[in-house]
């Protein structure tokens, strides 16, 4: 679905990404893992068209999107869910969700999908007319995820959905992402929470200093001693735990 080939990108003259190769197959969940400042957000911005691609190419759904404008990329079905704090605080929950549906014009279907989002995230339904600035962290994450879904994406890219959230809430969020994946949406999740991401995803890439260091099937990576040392400084316990929807 998404193919990134030898991409170099950055801010102005500052090159952050140095030859990234990454692909996401349709219908799968792929994780991109790394610490702070490794280039994860830069990569998402580059894929979404907010940053120019200096070298390399990006292909989505068999179409080249390397030089496409951000709003065209969204319209082609590739939607990014930004970090929680970027909902529109001065708009209500419902208005935020409606902004997500901006590219669509099928009013009846939009209404149908809106109700769908509400049944998926009941907490949002209770707060549909409240200003999103009043929501808790977990609720805002649900809101921006819901907003992304309102665009009826073929593929959803999530930027650190677990950031600044309590562990119990993180579990809920990841269970929701799994459910979304079951509906056929391809998922790329960018995370610092390695354990949760490897439990959720089928395939993972580890990024450091703007380069992909390791990649592989998550069940293999979870037991890989290099990963354990790299991120966890030890062993990953309880690898048999699966996320059931």
């Amino acid at each position: 679905m998404l193919k990134i080939k030898e991409v170099h990108a950055g801010y102005g003259r500052l090159k952050i990404l140095r030859g990234i190769n990454l692909s996401v197959s349709q219908g799968t969940i792929v994780a991109l893992l790394g610490g702070n400042g490794t280039g994860k957000s830069t990569l998402l911005k580059t894929i979404s068209g907010l940053l120019p691609v200096m070298e390399g190419s990006i292909e989505f759904d068999k179409k080249v999107i390397t030089d496409s404008k951000p709003h065209h990329i969204v319209r082609s079905g590739l939607v990014q869910v930004t970090q929680s704090k970027e909902a529109y605080p001065a708009m209500t929950v419902e208005e935020n969700l409606m902004v997500g549906a901006f590219t669509r014009s099928d009013k009846a279907e939009i209404k149908y999908d809106l109700e769908g989002i509400y049944s998926f995230f009941p907490a949002l339904k209770d707060r549909r007319n409240m200003l999103s600035g009043t929501l808790s962290g977990g609720e805002v994450q649900m809101l921006v995820t819901g907003r992304g879904l309102m665009a009826k994406p073929k593929m959803l890219m999530l930027d650190e959905p677990s950031a600044a959230l309590a562990p119990k809430v993180v579990l809920e969020i990841f269970a929701n992402i799994y459910k979304i994946s079951q509906t056929g949406v391809t998922i790329l999740v960018v995370e610092q929470n390695v354990r949760m991401a490897l439990l959720l995803a089928q395939y993972a890439y580890i990024i450091r200093d703007g380069r992909i260091m390791i990649e592989g099937k998550s069940e293999e990576l979870i037991n890989d001693p290099a990963i354990k040392e790299f991120f966890l400084g030890g062993t990953v316990t309880d690898t048999s735990k699966k996320l059931n929807a």
């Binding site: 907010l50 404008k69 951000p70 969204v74 319209r75 605080p89 001065a90």
Partner: protein, 300 residues
């Protein structure tokens, strides 16, 4: 001594009327600031152009006054969008606010102001043109006689406010404007054509300035330098109400208008133009963020 309440009321009413015009120009300034992160220093000249176009439509082409207002608004919107596309876009896309490009934008605005003023001078000359509009007899409110132009100004301004508010709060495009004003990157990620919406916001701000120009025309005369003082006062109004806040711009304008009229009436009429800035200084001392001031980047 018998305090003349009638006069006071008259001054307040006139103050509100002129204040609403300041408010409309201030609204344009705040709108452009919300959308483009820049203070448009040529805004006064757009207002001036609006007045001249309105005058032209009304006097030379015999267009009825209300339609002259609409015509001037459309012209100014197109002029503004053209200027934005040709001169401002590269600077605004490179950054706003405190960046080098943002500073460059301020200088560019001043330059555009001078350029527009000179173009107007070449077209219409330096004289002060009267803007005669026959609107009928003044409206009698008890002992106070209000010229019809004042009444029309108040009515048209209210109408503009209502339409603008409806547009921003209840239409899809208005939602896009609010989204872009808040955060351009996220607006892009919603699939919004951000450069197009920015052009639209700019055009809207310019249309408002032009409407103000045509409304003021019959109350004062129309001349090439009228933009300068209006920009200063409207800017003061925007700051008083809270820079970047749309309702604040309107309230700020009304306050400036009332303050100005009361000052001219009860303190000294020969220093009329000072009062707007006096109010500005007072507000900056006691409440620097303005009445409805938005401190961080929460706009529209």
């Amino acid at each position: 001594m018998d305090f003349d309440f009638n006069s006071l009321l008259a001054f307040i009413i006139f103050g509100i009327t002129i204040g609403v015009v300041y408010g409309i120009v201030a609204l344009g300034i705040s709108l452009i600031y919300s959308g483009l992160d820049i203070v448009h220093f040529a805004h006064g000249e757009i207002y001036m152009f609006g007045a001249f176009i309105g005058l032209f439509l009304s006097q030379e082409l015999g267009v009825p006054y209300p339609f002259a207002i609409i015509g001037a608004m459309i012209f100014a919107a197109l002029l503004g969008m053209g200027i934005e596309r040709v001169f401002y876009r590269r600077l605004t896309q490179a950054g706003g606010g405190y960046t080098v490009a943002g500073m460059g934008m301020i200088i560019c605005g001043f330059g555009m102001s001078v350029a527009l003023m000179n173009v107007a001078f070449l077209i219409w000359g330096a004289g002060a043109e009267p803007f005669p509009v026959n609107l009928g007899m003044p409206l009698q409110l008890g002992d106070i006689s209000i010229p019809q132009s004042y009444v029309l100004t108040a009515v048209v301004s209210m109408l503009l406010m209502v339409v603008l508010n409806y547009f921003i709060r209840h239409t899809k495009l208005g939602l896009a404007v609010r989204a872009v004003a808040h955060n351009k990157d996220i607006a892009y990620l919603m699939g919004i054509n951000v450069p197009l919406v920015i052009s639209l916001i700019f055009g809207l701000g310019c249309a408002l300035a032009a409407a103000a120009g045509v409304l003021i025309g019959p109350m004062q005369s129309v001349q090439v330098e009228m933009g300068y003082l209006m920009l200063m006062k409207a800017f003061a109004a925007a700051v008083v109400g809270g820079f970047g806040s749309l309702p604040g711009a309107l309230i700020g304008g009304i306050l400036v208008g009332i303050f100005e009229n009361l000052g001219a009436a009860y303190i000294s009429p020969s220093h009329k133009d000072i009062y707007a800035f006096l109010l500005l200084i007072l507000v900056l001392i006691f409440r620097p963020s303005g009445l409805f001031g938005v401190i961080a980047k929460v706009k529209a």
